[in-house]
Structure formats: structure tokens, C-alpha cells
């Protein structure tokens, strides 16, 4: 057989890095055979429903549970009084605050958890929940973070009375959480004083929700005889949950097993620990039976971890040619009633300091104030790394504003400010080291692909025609993300470094099982991790089982969020595979009676240098690992790797959007969206494309419709899918995708992570396009979401 043909056949069989292998997860999902938390059914299992406050701010005078307890089929009704003896009525948050598990005499947001009703089934629990009588005394409500900081503003958190210092330093007001600053303020201020041109823009990133198709929930099962606690939970970070549960319950982690089964989307909503989980565990311990708690859709949308609600004021200083000299940012961050963000401990604004973007900006200073309001807690990431969407939005909007002021084209001003390829690794003024990037070719490729000049010409023509029924907008973003948290020197959660892990066992027949500390929620880990192992160890991907999510079998890891699976766990996978390969090399050398140095690795085998007929396949080596190893070597073929990344990774992209706004209705049609992503080494191009389509669609949803508004009484509006915008295929635009490849120099296989880039990059691109549609009329910015109503109002304000 032709050698090349044979090699090609072996390569295809391997299904390694770069191959568009079909997703191994899909057969079960598309046949309805997934296994989600609500599919878990245990003998004797009870069901629980949360009683929630209808008021956004109230004192609780009394709770009468007697009628509910007397309702047939009810087993328990828990309130804060029942949790107090266990010291579980409050719990620590990942952000260094505390959160009421069940309201302790005071509620500070609508739908706050007040009582937990446990019954034979969910129908009885729902009926009995209505019978819990709570005497509320309403208090004045604050939903605006600026009003929250007024001297005489009502106290949202009486439990913090007298605490002038929080987890992140001094609190300057009773509703203030923290002030966090980074950068050189004096130098930045001087750059502004000396600048030829400055621009300033206020913007609000609305309160939105991830709205995963599967809501949050858990099943807790305590075995009183064995003293074991098992919790099935839809969690993006099962090991972190185990540690938190251990801290709260005083049960040793060795007796706690957290299982994340199939997850119906997370996007950052499923990182933290919610009151329902704690209550289900307590109820199971108290009642000695398994207890299931599953959120309704509205509970999910109005109680468990929102994203954003960032009020950002940006300023740029530049010269007349548009070269940026300094960036200054002030943020008022509405965290809701409890600070339940999920950020690395040291960074209460996450990685917002990536806000200098893809640009060579010599000076920058950022100040973020966290504020309490009578709204549900959160401020977590939503398909992005910690606060990165906010940061990228800020800088991409600001550079557009500067371009507009100077009359420079949006593409051109970016080119003038890009960090140049030869400047990498590049140290930003806010202390991050960008490992790699190549921005100019990416933008040029996009501009050529869409014929940017022709689009601008068409736009000019339409602007000149007063009878044109539509406004045409062209948006551009050239973003840099920061993902792969992260190096333990800067990133930890609850004191645990943000490493991740992989363990591989090769069986005697040459097949293997691999387990990681991450957990897939749609990313396709079962498929892609196997590809890394295939390329690195020579075991065909089809022969590798990938398992995640069970803390009793998987090695400890920090979980899947912030696009960290590939940058962190993916690196551990590659390194564990290499350990397997190196042991296999020694076994092969032993079998072939040559020195290990005389062997070269060749796809799925080792061959003797200069004598390619002498080979040992990985299959043969695996068998030998269990019966014929070199003297002094342990039997078996296993490897474990815990990977602490030396740096973050910095995926980037260049996006362009063309949209048309109908003047008289505000309806917007996204005519074209071209997304070029550079995620370094591409493991599975098909999955990457799917991830990008998903991220762009969520970005479109945020830009065009998602919002959780509040009225002045603290009622959350739009907390159902009637109002909350989840685009279907009918609304979703057509996506065009493209790529360049700039591998990460420090990652074992050069991969950077990709799933969040399209979300982070597309949202400012939609804003850029929408503002551009009105730019000739003087608009520099207006806030999302761009539903028809809001766009029409903006058009009306301009007299269109």
C-alpha cells in the first residue's frame, strides 16, 4: 500500500487535533436520553418548593408554618429559625460576603428565599407553599445604585451594621460593598490634562440573565448509616461545591460526593451555591430521605445569579491623529442585595482590567464601586470570563466614540492603535501580559471579505436619500479576551488555586478512560478532550471514554466557566497524555530491545529511527504495560496532571455587522454578521463553529432584547419567557465565520479557548452598528437592548 495513503488512514482513524469529529454527546441528547438533575429519581425521594418574598424590601414580623405543616403529604417546612441551630441560616458567598439561606427577619429583594416546604411530591409542595403565612412590614425600596449611595438611603443590609470594612477593603457607605482601583491614576490624569483630544461616554450594560434551558436544581441524599452525603446538582464547578458544602456542613469532603450529570446549559449561572441547594441538603439530613429541589423558569430568571448591571463612564485621551494616550474608567456596579459574584478572590471586578483591549494604550486607570440594591444577587459572568464582556464593551464603544469625534473611520482608528505583532508579549498598563496576538491581518481579512468600502458607499448613498425607509449601520469590533483563569499566583476561589486536572488510565486492550476536573455543559468535552489525547498519546479518540462531573471519581478541578476548560484542563489533558506517551516509549523500547532515544513517535505507534519496519503500536504497548514492562518499572499505564497555567490566554477576533433599521417602526434586521476568531490551535473546527454560532446568538439576544428591568417598588419585570428574549431560529441572523491561527506560546498545544469570544465580541459590534445607523445625526451611544421600541424612541428623539 502507498505509504501516504496508509498514514492518512491511520491519521483519520486517530481523530486527533484538527479533525471535525462528530460530537459524542449528541446521540443521547438528540434522542432524549440525556440525564439531567430532574431525571434523577431515588426511592423515597421528597420534593421541595421555596416560599419567596413578594416584596423587594421588608421586615418579617412572623412566619406561621402551622397550616402548611398540617397539609397532608407535607414532611417539613424550614425557616431561618430551623437553620439557626445548625448555623446554616446564612452562608458565605464566593465574593467574601454572606447571603441569607432563608430570610433572617428581613428580605432585601423580591423573590428572596423565606421558607422551604418539603412534601411527598411537587404538587403537594406547591399547594402547601401557599399556606405559609408571612407577616411582612414593607420598607422603602432602592433599585438604583446611585440612589443607594445617597446619605439617607435605606439600609439594604442591616446585618452589616457597623462593618466599615468588607472583603475588599473599606466601605464608604452602608450600601457600599467595595472600591477597587487599578492603574496609575496620576500618570493617567496627567495624560488627560496634556491631551489634544478627549472624549467621554456614559453607558449602562443592562441586567441580563443567562437563562439556561435547564434551570438550577439539586437532589440531596444523606445516608445516615454510612454518614455519606451525595448531591446531584446542575453545577459548572462540582468540586468547588463539594468544598463549600464541606465548609458549611462540617462533613469531611471524603464523605461528600457531588455529581453534575448532563447540564442543560450554564453560561455562568451555575457556578455558585444557591439557598435551595443548602436547604435540600439540610432537609435530607433532617428527614433521612432524598430531597429534590428544582427551580421554575421564573425562579431561575429572578433569583439565581444575574449578569452585568454595570454603569460605566469611559474617557479616552488622544492626539489629533487618533493615537490613544490614556483610558480612564469609573464603574458603579450594581450587585443586588448580596455580593454573590463569582470572581477570583483578589479581583472583585473580575478581569475588567482587560479593558485596554487590543490597543497600545500607555496609561490607564480603573475604579469600580460595588453597590447593594434591592435586587436579586449576582453579577456573575454570562458566557464570558469574569467581567470581560463589560470591559470589552467599554473599550470598543470608546474607540468608536473617539473615531466619531475625530472623523476617522472606525476601522482606520483601530489600525492606528493596535498592539503590533512584534510587541508581544505585551504588558498592558493595567498589569496583564498579553501572550500573543496578530490583530491587523485579522481585521484586514474581514474588511476584504465584506468589501467594506462598498458598504460605506452604500451607506453614504442611503444617508443622502431622505426618502429611504431604512437606516444602515456598520459595526466593527476588534476585541481581545482574557480567558483560562488562571495562574494560582493571581487567581483563587476560596483559597484554592485555579488549576485544573486530568487523569488518564489506559486499559490492557489499548482503550482508555480519562477524567477531568471540568464539566461540559454543551462544549463537547467528551469529543474534544479525546482528540487531544489521541494526538498526544496515539490512542484513537474512539477508544477513549471521557468522564467528568463526579467528585468521587474525577480529580479535583475548578470547573468549566470563563473559557477555562481548554486553556487549563486541556493543557492538563495534553500533559497527562504526554506522560502516557513517555512511559509507552520506555515500554516500546523494552519490547523492541532498543534505547528509548532510538524511537520516534509516529501517530499511533513508536518506530525505530532508521528502521521504520520495526514498530510497536500503542495497542501492543498497552497490553505489555500489564505483563511485560522493563525491570524496575511499575505496571500499568496511567497518568495524572494538575496544571497551574503560567498565564491567561488571549483569544481575539475581528467582527463586522451590517444592519438596517426601519425608521418608522424601529425594527432591525441584521443583514450581515462576519465573525473572524483566532483561538490559537483549533481542536475541532466543527465544534468551534457551533460554539461561535451559539455565542453570536446569545450576543444577539443580549444586544437586541434581553433585559430584566425593575419598577420603583422593586418588582422585577419581564421574569418569564413571555418577555425575556430567547431568540429562536426565526429571529437569529445568518452567521458568517472565519479564522486566523495565532497559537498561545505558553499552552502545551497552543490552544486558547473559544466559546465566549463570540459573545464578548459580538455585543459591542451590534452596538457599534446600531449607533452607526444614527451616527450622521450626532448619536455617539445609546443603551441596549435595541428592541424596536427603544430604537423607535431613539429615532423619534432625533426627529426621524
Amino acid at each position: 500500500m502507498d505509504q501516504n495513503v496508509e498514514n492518512q488512514g491511520r491519521l483519520e482513524k486517530l481523530e486527533g487535533i484538527g479533525c471535525s469529529r462528530k460530537r459524542r454527546e449528541d446521540p443521547r441528547f438528540i434522542q432524549g436520553k440525556g440525564n439531567y438533575v430532574d431525571d434523577i429519581k431515588l426511592p423515597g425521594m421528597l420534593f421541595a418548593v421555596m416560599v419567596r418574598s413578594p416584596y423587594a424590601h421588608a421586615k418579617i414580623n412572623s412566619i406561621d408554618t402551622s397550616k402548611a405543616k398540617a397539609y397532608p403529604g407535607v414532611h417539613a417546612v424550614l425557616t431561618a429559625e430551623d437553620l439557626k441551630p445548625l448555623k446554616l441560616h446564612w452562608m458565605p458567598t464566593l465574593a467574601g460576603d454572606v447571603q441569607a439561606v432563608l430570610a433572617d427577619g428581613h428580605v432585601s429583594f423580591q423573590n428572596q428565599e423565606v421558607a422551604f416546604v418539603v412534601a411527598d411530591d411537587r404538587y403537594i409542595a406547591a399547594d402547601a407553599a401557599e399556606l405559609v403565612e408571612v407577616d411582612y412590614e414593607e420598607l422603602p425600596v432602592i433599585v438604583d445604585p446611585f440612589k443607594a449611595l445617597a446619605p439617607d438611603a435605606p439600609v439594604i443590609r442591616p446585618d452589616l451594621d457597623g462593618k466599615d470594612v468588607g472583603a475588599h477593603g473599606a466601605r464608604k457607605h452602608h450600601n457600599h460593598i467595595f472600591n477597587w482601583q487599578i492603574g496609575d491614576k496620576d500618570k493617567t490624569d496627567r495624560a488627560f490634562s496634556d491631551a489634544e483630544v478627549t472624549v467621554a461616554q456614559d453607558m449602562h450594560y443592562p441586567r441580563v440573565h443567562h437563562c439556561p434551558l435547564e434551570t438550577c436544581g439539586s437532589v440531596a441524599s444523606y445516608d445516615a448509616i454510612r454518614g455519606d452525603l451525595t448531591v446531584w446538582i446542575t453545577s459548572q464547578a462540582p468540586h468547588v461545591v463539594r468544598t463549600v458544602v464541606g465548609m458549611l456542613s462540617s462533613i469531611p469532603e471524603s464523605k461528600i460526593r457531588i455529581i453534575s450529570p448532563d447540564i442543560g446549559g450554564g453560561f455562568g449561572n451555575k457556578v455558585g451555591v444557591y439557598p435551595g441547594y443548602v436547604c435540600a441538603i439540610v432537609a435530607s439530613i433532617v428527614l433521612g430521605r432524598p430531597v429534590k429541589w428544582i427551580e421554575s423558569r421564573s425562579e431561575n430568571l429572578t433569583t439565581t445569579a444575574f449578569a452585568r448591571d454595570y454603569w460605566m463612564s469611559g474617557e479616552l485621551a488622544a492626539d489629533k491623529n487618533g493615537r490613544i494616550k490614556a483610558l480612564r474608567v469609573n464603574v458603579t456596579a450594581d450587585h443586588g442585595a448580596f455580593d454573590a459574584c463569582a470572581d477570583p478572590t483578589k479581583w472583585p471586578a473580575g478581569m475588567f482590567h482587560v479593558c485596554t483591549g487590543s490597543y497600545d494604550i500607555p496609561n490607564a486607570h480603573v475604579s469600580v464601586d460595588g453597590v447593594y440594591t434591592n435586587k436579586f444577587p449576582g453579577g456573575v459572568a454570562y458566557r464570558c470570563s469574569f467581567r470581560v464582556t463589560e470591559a470589552v464593551y467599554l473599550v470598543e464603544r470608546m474607540i468608536d466614540v473617539l473615531a466619531q469625534k475625530l472623523g476617522i473611520d472606525k476601522a482606520e482608528i483601530r489600525k492606528r492603535n493596535f498592539i503590533k505583532h512584534e510587541q508581544f508579549p505585551y504588558l498592558t498598563p493595567l498589569g496583564l501580559e498579553f501572550d500573543s496576538g496578530n490583530y491587523l491581518p485579522a481585521l484586514d481579512k474581514v474588511l476584504d471579505a465584506v468589501d467594506y468600502k462598498a458598504l460605506r458607499a452604500e451607506q453614504a448613498q442611503k444617508r443622502a436619500d431622505p426618502n429611504c425607509p431604512t437606516l444602515m449601520g456598520i459595526g466593527i469590533t476588534t476585541f481581545t479576551e482574557i480567558v483560562g483563569a488562571g495562574p494560582s499566583k493571581s487567581c483563587d476561589i476560596l483559597g484554592i488555586g485555579m488549576f485544573d486536572s486530568c487523569e488518564i488510565r489506559v486499559h490492557p486492550d489499548g482503550s482508555a478512560i480519562a477524567r477531568m476536573g471540568t464539566i461540559s455543559q454543551g462544549q463537547g468535552h467528551q469529543t474534544t478532550y479525546a482528540q487531544i489525547i489521541a494526538s498526544e498519546s496515539g490512542i484513537a479518540a474512539s477508544q477513549i471514554a471521557v468522564e467528568e462531573g463526579d467528585t468521587s471519581t474525577a480529580p479535583y478541578g475548578l470547573g468549566t466557566y470563563g473559557s477555562r476548560s481548554t486553556p487549563v484542563a486541556g493543557a492538563a489533558v495534553a500533559r497527562a497524555s504526554r506522560k502516557i506517551r513517555e512511559k509507552a516509549r520506555k515500554i516500546a523500547a523494552h519490547l523492541l530491545e532498543v534505547s528509548p532515544d532510538d524511537l520516534e513517535f509516529d501517530l499511533d505507534q513508536f518506530k525505530v529511527k532508521g528502521n521504520p519496519a520495526k514498530t510497536k503500536s500503542m495497542k501492543e504497548i498497552a497490553w505489555a504495560a500489564y505483563n511485560n514492562v522493563p525491570e524496575g518499572m511499575e505496571m500499568g499505564l496511567e497518568a495524572v496532571d494538575y496544571y497551574d497555567p503560567p498565564n491567561f490566554t488571549f483569544p481575539f477576533g475581528a467582527y463586522l455587522c451590517v444592519l438596517d433599521v426601519t425608521k418608522k417602526t424601529g425594527e432591525t434586521k441584521v443583514r450581515r454578521f462576519y465573525a473572524l476568531d483566532d483561538c490559537g490551535t483549533r481542536i475541532n473546527p466543527m465544534i468551534i463553529e457551533g460554539q461561535i454560532h451559539g455565542g453570536l446568538t446569545e450576543g444577539f439576544a443580549v444586544a437586541m432584547g434581553q433585559e430584566l428591568p425593575y419598577d420603583e417598588q422593586g418588582n422585577v419585570l419581564g421574569g418569564t419567557l413571555m418577555d425575556y428574549f430567547l431568540p429562536t431560529s426565526m429571529e437569529t441572523p445568518h452567521w458568517e465565520t472565519d479564522f486566523t491561527v495565532t497559537p498561545s506560546p505558553h499552552h502545551p498545544i497552543g490552544a486558547k479557548g473559544v466559546a465566549e469570544s463570540p459573545h464578548v465580541g459580538s455585543i459591542p459590534c451590534f452596538s457599534s452598528a446600531m449607533v452607526d445607523a444614527f451616527a450622521h445625526l450626532g448619536t455617539t451611544h445609546f443603551n441596549m437592548p435595541y428592541n424596536s421600541y427603544r430604537v423607535w424612541q431613539h429615532a423619534q428623539s432625533l426627529g426621524i
Partner: protein
């Protein structure tokens, strides 16, 4: 999202339905497709003690040409409207509106009679029924009576149906030659109620409008028949000026409730825009 306890009944004939309604009175609710009632029950806004499912009542189904009218059983689903060849030939507007309601899953269950009887101004069929000059057959213990669409809707969730009555049939006159119709709906997303929508039925002879009916969705406590707007077209060529004038008259009768879809100004303006769209399309369809 769990309703309060209720008793479920599945009668198979109309007299049984009427008997059950008589027996349980205020405690009973009729279940058609369930896409309005069941969400209200799950949110515990409604808690009927008895649910009378009409799904098995065969005489409430079917589409037929009877004399000069189309008769449609109240339990005919949106999907059956969409795929009816009889309607495609005689009343294409019905399929056009049905296609703009919710999504395929809902349209397989949702019914014409349920959509109308619920009395929700956000539903799409009431305005279309007004524009098509429909007549409803209401049956009760004392027999049947006929009520015009224009007289059926009394207020929010309030209709001409009296306790113990059920809508059994919808009767629609065949449009005369030269008639064109259209339904224009502005919605935020698939599955949403209209921000505003308009149904227009116009008849043109020798380039002049001889008859017009216009009705509006979700810009008042009920669907609204825009009489002045329609009358303004009669005797005129339906050109841009006439369309603009009619839309302005239609906007005058709007009294929408502000919500996240928009304030009064926006919804009223959109009602005008939808009237314009519907009229343009309807006029273009007046073949002859």
C-alpha cells in the same frame, strides 16, 4: 408552575358539555387548546375546580362550505386552518393570521374558538373575525344563538358568552370578487403577542375601493373595529395618501396598555404602521 388541584372532565358530545357547565357553574372552565388557560392556572392566576376538556367533542371540529359561508368548528386548530385547502381557496387570510400565531407546537394545540372565546385583546383572531365580519354560534342549555364578531367582545376577558354557554362554530361569509385581505403583526419575537397588529379586508372595483373593514389587535381592552378608518377608503383609490389617512384615523381609536412592548405612543404609532402595511398588501391582492 404547578396549578391548584382540579377535577378533569372529558365529555364526548356537546349536550354533555352543556350539562357539565350547568352542573359546575362558576367553578368550571372550558379547556380548548389550553395555551391561554393552562399558563394562567400554572401561575395560579386562575384556579378552576373543574376543567371540561372539549378535545373529544367531534361536532366541534371541521371546516365546511355551507351555502355562501364557511363554517369552522370552534375546536379547529390553528394548524388545521393553515393546511386547509378550502380556506386557502376562499379565505386565505385565516391561514395568514394562523401562521403568525406563536410557533408550530402551539398551533398544533391552539384552536380558533379558544383564541376568540378567551376575550384576550392580545389574541390575533378577534380582530381578524371583526374584519371578516364573522358570526359566532353560541350554544347553551336553551339552544343556540348567533352573535356578530363586532358585538361579541365586551372588555378584557369579557365576551358575549353567558355562564353555561360554549362557542361551537365560527361562520364567515365568502368575500365578493375583487377582495383582498392581509394581517400585519409587529411582535418582539416568535411566540409573543402583538405589540400592535391590523387586519384589513378591502374590495376594489374599477380601481376604487367599494368596501373596507379594518380591525386592530392589542391596542385596547378588546380588538377594535376601525370603522372611520375603513369608511375613509370607500369611494377612493387605495393610494399612499388614502392609506396614510386611514392609518391616522385608526390610531385615533387606540387605547393601549403600556408594558414592556412599548408605551401608549409607540403602540399607537405601530397600530398605524400595521394598518398601512395591511392595507398596502390587501390592496395589492385585490385581483381583477
Amino acid at each position: 408552575m404547578i396549578p391548584r388541584p382540579f377535577e378533569y372532565h372529558a365529555p364526548t358530545a356537546l349536550p354533555e358539555v352543556i350539562a357539565l357547565l350547568g352542573q359546575y357553574g362558576d367553578e368550571a372552565k372550558l379547556l380548548a387548546g389550553g395555551h391561554s388557560l393552562l399558563p394562567m392556572m400554572k401561575l395560579r392566576f386562575a384556579g378552576p375546580g373543574h376543567l371540561i376538556d372539549l378535545r373529544k367533542v367531534a361536532e366541534l371540529k371541521g371546516i365546511a362550505l355551507v351555502g355562501g359561508e364557511i363554517h369552522i368548528g370552534a375546536m379547529t386548530t390553528e394548524n388545521e386552518l393553515i393546511f386547509s385547502t378550502l380556506l386557502a381557496k376562499h379565505l386565505p387570510l385565516l391561514a395568514e393570521v394562523a401562521r403568525q400565531i406563536a410557533d408550530p407546537q402551539v398551533r398544533y394545540k391552539g384552536t380558533l374558538g379558544g383564541d376568540i372565546s378567551h376575550g384576550d385583546p392580545g389574541n390575533d383572531h378577534p380582530a381578524v373575525m371583526m374584519a371578516m365580519d364573522a358570526t359566532f354560534v353560541l350554544a347553551g342549555a336553551h339552544g343556540e344563538r348567533l352573535v356578530k364578531a363586532s358585538e361579541f367582545f365586551h372588555g378584557l376577558y369579557d365576551t358575549a358568552l353567558t355562564p353555561g354557554e360554549v362557542m361551537t362554530q365560527i361562520r364567515l361569509p365568502l368575500p365578493p370578487a375583487g377582495t383582498g385581505s392581509s394581517y400585519a403583526k409587529l411582535k418582539r419575537k416568535t411566540g409573543d403577542y402583538a405589540t400592535a397588529a391590523a387586519a384589513a379586508v378591502v374590495q376594489v372595483k374599477n380601481s376604487v375601493c367599494v368596501q373596507a373593514r379594518i380591525a386592530l389587535t392589542n391596542v385596547g381592552p378588546t380588538a377594535l373595529l376601525a370603522g372611520d378608518a375603513a369608511a375613509s377608503l370607500v369611494g377612493k383609490t387605495i393610494d399612499e395618501a388614502a392609506i396614510g389617512h386611514a392609518a391616522a384615523l385608526a390610531m385615533k381609536i387606540c387605547d393601549p396598555t403600556p408594558d414592556l412592548r412599548g408605551d401608549e405612543a409607540y403602540k399607537t404609532a405601530m397600530a398605524g404602521q400595521m394598518v398601512e402595511r395591511a392595507l398596502r398588501t390587501a390592496a395589492a391582492r385585490c385581483a381583477i
